[in-house]
């Protein structure tokens, strides 16, 4: 069962993503801030990280910078979730190695699931 680490602080968003991805057979772990997320990566070695940019303690970009310091962690694909990015944010996410990204208000859960499948299959 592919493992996904979801880094997100909004409970309702967590609940919805968890329900959708759970139903599709993924194993979801949740970190509610960047620091917790970084610690959890090494515990569960996820197949994919769903990363919110606006998080307490450590924002998503910083999390990516930390991940990039470790070549093994760097191989885990990351999909970045934005609330309202501008072009600079998108460029930064790409430069930091994000495999894909989306703006939360622009996609439905099904479309997000499609992005997950594209990265790690079912």
């Amino acid at each position: 069962m592919p493992k996904i680490l979801l880094m997100e602080d909004e409970e309702i968003i967590i609940g919805l993503l968890q329900k959708k991805l759970d139903k599709e057979g993924y194993e979801i772990s949740v970190a509610r801030d960047g620091e917790e997320g970084l610690n959890m990566i090494k515990e569960i070695w996820p197949d994919l990280i769903l990363l919110d940019i606006n998080m307490p303690k450590m924002e998503g970009f910083r999390v990516m910078e930390e991940i990039n310091k470790n070549p093994t962690l760097q191989r885990i694909p990351i999909i970045v979730m934005f609330d309202s990015p501008d072009s600079v944010d998108l460029k930064r996410a790409q430069a930091l190695g994000a495999k894909d990204w989306f703006v939360k208000t622009e996609l439905n859960l099904q479309q997000i699931l499609n992005k997950v499948v594209e990265q790690i299959g079912r």
Binding site: E10, I12, I13, L16, K19, K20, K23, D83, S84, D86, S87, V88, L90, K91, K104, T105, N108, L109, Q110
Partner: protein
Amino acid sequence: MPKENKITNQKTAKFKELENAYSALLNVVEDINEEKQQIKKDRDRALVIIDNFNDGILVFDKKNTLSFTNPPIESFFEMKTAEIIGKSASALAEIPIFESLMNFLSREETKIFRKELPLKKNLILEVTIIPLTEEKEEMGTLIILHDITKEKTIERIKTEFVSLAAHQLRTPLSAIKWTLRMLLDGDLGKLSPEQRDFLEKTYKSNERMIFLINDLLNVTRIEEGRYIYQLLFCDFLEIIHSVINFYHGELERKNIKLELQEPGDKPPRILGDEEKIKLVIENLIDNAIRYTFPGGKIIISIELLDEEIEFKIQDTGMGIPKSEQPRVFTKFFRGADAIKMETEGSGLGLFVTKNIVEAHGGRIWFQSEEGKGATFYFTLPLTRPKME
């Protein structure tokens, strides 16, 4: 009459004349003194006014030498008048705090121009540069510096507030969108037709809210100078097709015909920010549909000009009254009749649209007559590949 008497009489007359002349002269001198006093008084009064002015004043003479300042200049620039008066503009430009102001002055401007200047921490000035002329002869330059720090601070706080509110609103809106979709997709159980109907309407309202928040965020970004463009070569016609496709359902629902007239030759690709150009076309089509009555028609035509590509969208809608035309591109503008016909709309779309077009080096304008529809035009510069 004896000769001597005659001479005496003549002398007396001369004396009288001289006396008269003398007193006349005295009068003149007195008048001049009075006049002088008056002039001095006037001058002193003018100086008192200028000295007590809150705005800073700098006057440069014909040779670009600083010839006059008033007290606020000392506090703005933290220098004594004696240290700067008599200095040439180029000498002043060597002093760091004067550098950016002197750069404005070096522009060859014959008209009055205004510019904002953040001079130092907590001081933003509005600089007005006025060329002084007397009977077409250049006499020098007057610079007025007006402290707008407070206004700018309020403006910044307002923009920040809108930006924060809009950001904060987006998370719940995503949550609502996802939840409603889940319900509509039957992921959370079967729905009755009535439930589905209500949920679909709620979903649409939510989408509109997302659209509005996006508009607000775009406006705050434009105002903060953070509306950033990512320029890439893109296919203008393809962008138009994709936007039109998106409006298919809406057009059918309102029974409005949309005709697209493409140019005979395929236009070269344009250098632009695809997402933002899409938004421009969306806004214009959205407006055309919104204000066109059912059964109406919208014609979009694309024309290739020498150096630019022109987009034209003509509708048979309600048009824009003359009195409202000057405000069409301003923020939060909504036509009085438009509000009656369609209560929704942020009044931000055309403001954002104009900013995007102009940031691409294009132009935007419209023609309209009340009751007879409106035609909006915009152009984008073509960057043709260099001929080998």
